[in-house]
Amino acid sequence: MATQHSRAAARVMISPAVILLLGWMLIPLGMTLYFSFLRYNLLMPGANPFVGWENYSYFLSDPAFQTAIVNTLLLVLGVLLITVVGGVLIALLLDQPMWGQGIVRILVIAPFFVMPTVSALVWKNMFMNPVNGLFAHLFQALGLAPFDFLAQAPLASIIGIVSWQWLPFATLILLTAMQSLDSEQLEAAEMDGASPLARFFHIVLPHLARAITVVILIQTIFLLSVFAEILVTTNGGPGTASTNLTYLVYAESLLRFDVGTGSAGGVVAIILANIVAIFLMRMIGKNLDA
């Protein structure tokens, strides 16, 4: 539909966005890469000599790094497992006929709109606190010993908090996908003698496959960067028990002011995220053509 004139205009209209994003991507990325090869500590001003791969070997051989990688993976996988399974089940339930469906929907998605620092603090203090938290009261009422969630099971507690935040997202997307399923398909399967369970596994689940993939990929991008929840609950501790990669890089750079090592960690984080990103981009790209 386009004419020569409109093409030129289009290019002018796109360029501010492209130039800004290009700058936003290339300049800091280049600096991170550059710093990662320097001995550069903000507490030790002076020359910042080139040290090659030293920062990388230091960062990668740090025992905290291995813990952080394991924690990052546990956090991502744990949250994904809870939110996807929970999301499918809740979406399935919400798709049934009932009274007040709209209100239940609103209740279920609410946690997604709560800012991370608020949800982390509310959970930390009002629920998980070993003295005054609701869980402590509950345990006491049941005659159990109080449990200090964030000290004794810090990572699991954070997984719980983050899952609460992301469960609505998974539910909402899966519910939307479920509602696009043609009910005649289900009726056809019913006529063909498929039991409810069989209908779920052979029709509903395959129909959801695409939405589940999208949920997994998008959540992974965000979950790799979980930060505020850790900062306000455990500060990565006790020790490094709840430190993930993002938090470790933050700690290196802005707590220990070791710019060189922090940058090397940042590059590692970018590489990790890119592996996921490639899959996600393929999915979305395919959809563009459809």
Binding site: A17, M25, L93, V122, M126, I173
Partner: protein, 276 residues
């Protein structure tokens, strides 16, 4: 289409769904309730559900002690500001890509998205240093810049998926009807694009309001929005549940309401149109 089910079945569904809904919503409900208690009632054992003396004193105290509304205003300025600037840049870009697609349009879109995949921690150090050296650290303008840039890909994408649904034939009809570029934009395109732009605006204000990596790392006392201000409650300083709840309630209430209005667009915006 929902099939007719027996009332019994429907009642069971209803009970189950409401149970789960209330369970998931409970932490928010509890926060709101606690914000109206005194500090002593907030930690009472057994917990008080509704049978307490409702008070507004926490809201007053939070404002008095910490100048709450300055942080609230920071949040407003940062989230609305970054979204508006983002729209200003993204509307022309998305318009051009949707209506004058070229051979590379798809690549540009995908590339823009890929910048969103960049983990923030990967560029934390340089941004921090640039901000320190240019005096943007702990300034609202600095945060507006960063949040504009990190949300720009989402804004472009959302607008693009909305614009693409406006049939090209309508714009051609307008041209045949004698509309110049100005009238085309004014009378045809804008009215048709407004719903899409509005939901993009809404969703991005929500995202920017809740952003908690850059806001925590780039602000201190001055420009701290609510995310960072609330984080300051993480250091235990005695009994403060009721005040934390009051501060939290005020921080999440506006977004909760906006969020409920935008739930449909949320799916679309956050999945980049991959699920509708």
């Amino acid at each position: 289409m929902a099939r007719a089910v027996t009332p019994r079945r429907k009642a069971i569904n209803t009970a189950l769904a409401w149970g789960i809904g209330i369970l998931i919503f409970f932490p928010i409900l509890w926060t709101i309730l606690t914000s109206f208690k005194t500090e002593a009632q907030a930690i009472a054992d057994p917990p008080l559900f509704l049978n307490f003396d409702w008070t507004l004193e926490n809201y007053v105290t939070v404002q008095e002690r910490s100048n709450y509304f300055r942080h609230f205003w920071n949040s407003v300025v940062i989230s609305v500001g970054s979204t508006l600037i983002g729209l200003l840049i993204a509307v022309p870009a998305a318009w051009a890509m949707a209506f004058v697609p070229g051979r590379r349009t798809k690549d540009v879109l995908m590339w823009m998205l890929s910048t969103k995949m960049l983990p923030p921690v990967g560029v934390l150090v340089p941004i921090y240093l640039i901000f320190r050296d240019t005096g943007l650290l702990d300034s609202r303008i600095g945060l507006v810049i960063v949040l504009t840039l990190i949300n720009l890909p989402i804004i472009v994408w959302m607008l693009y998926t909305y614009f693409r649904e406006i049939p090209g034939e309508i714009l051609e009809a307008a041209r045949m009807d004698g509309a110049g570029l100005r009238s085309e934009i004014l009378y045809v395109l804008t009215p048709m694009a407004v719903p899409g732009i509005a939901s993009t605006l809404l969703l991005n204000i929500i995202l920017a309001w809740n952003e908690a990596f850059w806001t925590l790392n780039l602000t201190a006392a001055n420009a701290a929005p609510l995310t960072a201000f609330i984080a300051s409650y993480s250091s235990p300083e005695g009994l403060f549940y009721a005040k934390l709840s009051a501060a939290s309630t005020m921080a999440i209430a506006p977004i909760l309401i906006m969020g409920w209005f935008s739930q449909k667009q949320l799916v679309r915006g956050l999945t980049f149109g991959a699920v509708k």
